[in-house]
Amino acid sequence: MSNEILRIEDLAVEYHTTEGIVYAVNHINLELNKGETLGLVGETGAGKTTTALAILRLLPDRTGRIPSGKVFFDGKNLLEMSEEEMRSQIRGEKISMIFQDPMTSLNPVITVGDQIAEAIRYHSNLSKAEINKRVDEVLQLVGIPAERRHEYPHQFSGGMKQRVVIAIALSCEPDLLIADEPTTALDVTIQAQVLAMMDDLRERLGMAMIMITHDLGIVAQTCDRVAVMYAGEIIETGSLEEIFTGEDHHPYTVGLFGAIPNLEEETERLSPIDGLMPDPSIQQPGCPFADRCPKCMDKCRDTHPPVYETGTHKIACFLYSDRQEGGAQ
């Protein structure tokens, strides 16, 4: 309990749009320990970004709603904090987030150094000279020469921009970093650079990280634990070994692994998952994967499967109903 930095209980998120309600996240549970990296894996529309935004209470004002759930960070429920507390104590200071597209994450009319300084200034009482020193430190940390602090974002390449974004996120040494597909928009060689850097920084600063991605390769290289998300629900969680080398999996996880073209093996045909993710504006009574599942049973369509666990490996699937039922779902 004392080692836990984040615990999400029964979180649900809805978007109330003019065209109806979209059930983006349906009662998920997640835990994260200090210094640990959790990979949140899933395809487009699974609800990963929504979950991250919900933790930081950054959902769009007009449409985002959190009808249920608790998000405990270091013991306190973030959902009960005031907006002022969130802004001054949590965002940027204890929990930071980096987004997918470095092109639009930076303000184009402010120099890079000023943007980092702004983040530091907002969360601390350092003098101007101390802030400048810290900016230089942080730039060095992410591998950018300190002289470049006077340059504007458009003068940096995509990979460098993402480093700046990371520098801003880490400038106040947060306890938790949420990285939402941080390297998807980057070339693969630049991605390798940025991931290596993030790994280094994580070790040095000892922070926990939620790595949101659809790339199982990145998960294998950077994460300690994995949570697989589908249609707004977390259908499997476990340690890295359990997910990658374990025998038992949720059928969706099996499908996900089977659909990736493998660099190492020779495969004649890929085995895609038939069909599409279900419509998030309709609440499914049973398992969300039922329509596409090769192992679907009758009861999968009517009843929502509870979470079955073996130690730390949790799977929400009736195939494993012989195991112990886990916590609240």
Binding site: T44, R62, L276, D279
Partner: protein
């Protein structure tokens, strides 16, 4: 690049036009504005069938400057003419000037803008610099000049309004077409062997129409106001024509004693402009809902 997962089981015949219409209907202010304008235009077209046009100019010295009553809903002016009837006939003028000028200006400006986008290079440069120069001249000033040269009548007013609107329209159409020309479905048409001319006509223009329609409604409102302003200044439509601006101009001196002579035409201009603008806003939201949130 945002990826969207749309469902596969909703209505199968939802052309983009129908989707836009549905979204527009949901916007109450835009929808009622549209209804109001349709009614107004219908009334403007049909009014001579029901009301004797002579009443617009016939003076009746027995009912001079009467306040609003059942017989004369907006009152009568200093010549005994029913203001309500004058406003109705004035609608024909104002709306006609607004819609005709806007249409001509948009079509001409649109063709020029499309040429600039299509030919690019030197042609584009020349066209854009000329339009820069045109836009540098204050609109009112230019309109006054034109009207002074050609006389204060309807055709010259229309010419003045068209000239004022060509440059901004050319610019708009040029930029929308340029925006569309980079899209890959244009390349797909080229690869299939479609000629450039056909591409512009069948692929580019239908996809650039959206912003042009939005701006059209706002253009009508703005032209109506400008025309009214010109008439008010005395360089537009002259009395006894019941163009709305002229009505206000004639009532200027009597604002204190017979306010209804000014107020009602003023209200009508305001409400009509507002309706056009609300409709334009609603269209913009309906065509590109992402902008709303």
């Amino acid at each position: 690049m945002a990826k969207k997962n749309t469902t596969n089981q909703t209505n199968v015949r939802m052309s983009p036009g129908r989707v836009i219409w549905r979204r527009l209907k949901r916007n109450k202010s835009a929808y009622y504005s549209l209804i109001f304008l349709i009614l107004l235009i219908a009334v403007a077209i049909l009014v001579p069938l029901f009301v004797d046009e002579e009443l617009v100019t016939k003076q009746d010295l027995t009912i001079l400057h009467q306040p609003p009553s059942w017989a004369h809903p907006f009152g009568t002016d200093i010549y005994g003419r029913d203001i309500f009837i004058r406003i109705l006939f004035g609608a024909r003028m104002s709306l006609m000037i607004g819609i005709v000028s806007c249409t001509i200006g948009t079509v001409i400006g649109g063709i020029i803008g499309a040429c600039a986008a299509y030919f690019g290079g030197v042609v584009d440069n020349i066209i854009m610099r000329i339009s820069d120069m045109l836009q540098g001249i204050p609109e009112m000033l230019m309109s006054i000049c034109i009207v002074t040269v050609f006389g204060a009548n309807i055709p010259s007013l229309i010419i003045a309004m068209v000239v004022a609107i060509i440059a901004p329209r050319a610019r708009l159409v040029r930029s929308t077409i340029l925006g569309v020309s980079g899209r890959e479905f244009i390349e797909a048409a080229k690869i299939a062997g479609m000629s450039d001319f056909k591409i512009v006509l069948t692929q580019m223009i239908p996809n650039s129409i959206g912003p042009v329609i939005v701006v059209f409604t706002q253009g009508v409102a703005s032209i109506m106001l400008t025309a009214a302003g010109l008439s008010y200044l005395g360089v537009g439509i002259q009395p006894p024509h019941p163009e709305w601006g002229a009505l206000i101009a004639a009532a200027r001196e009597y604002l204190r004693i017979y306010p209804y002579m000014c107020v009602f035409p003023g209200l009508v201009i305001t409400v009509t402009s507002l309706a056009f603008n609300l409709l334009g806003d609603g269209l913009r939201d309906a065509i590109d809902p992402r902008l709303k949130d």
